[in-house]
Symmetry: C2
Subunit: 102 residues, 2 copies
């Protein structure tokens, strides 16, 4: 599932080319992205806050990023909830696999 | 030349792995990065502002990004000056060429 689809109005695709896709995610407290998948990606937290990610394998991960923090992740499937008291704003840079040579 | 070296105290490497390097650049008005090169990279402008880039080929490019704007660029060599009146803060995600197969 694609974050830009599952998170609908909370996600805005800022840039999409053959090498990267950049999504701005903004979620009010209580907001949920819906279960979605990423390949390799970088997350830059514009705001701090608290988010709980329910992973596809049933585990969950609580994050309390500070503003300006950066996170790397390999491929993952999760549903991200804003379990904090403030709007969370993050920018996700998804790397696209290099096109296989012809 | 490496931005993290030429821009010294104005540039902070936030993350560096085999696939990406993330640099936070903060420059006061009048600040300069020094001539440096990037490969493929994404720029996320945390603040808006005005910057003039003197390119290696002698041309120069004036940019007036808005906060939250994203820009893609292929390989480039330039010297970026903050020619505006406010601090400019940007996050640069540099893509590393995939390791050639053994």
């Amino acid at each position: 599932q694609d974050l830009a689809v599952t998170a609908a109005k909370n996600a805005k695709v800022l840039l999409d080319n053959d090498k990267v896709r950049v999504i701005e995610l903004q979620m009010a407290p209580g907001g949920k992205t819906g279960m979605h998948s990423h390949g390799d990606h970088v997350v830059y937290f514009v705001t701090g806050g608290e988010a709980t990610q329910n992973n596809a394998d049933g585990t969950s991960t609580k994050r309390q990023p500070k503003p300006g923090e950066v996170m790397w992740s390999g491929p993952v499937t999760h549903d991200t909830h804003n379990t904090g008291k403030a709007m969370v704003k993050a920018v996700i840079v998804e790397l696209k696999a290099p096109a296989s040579p012809p």
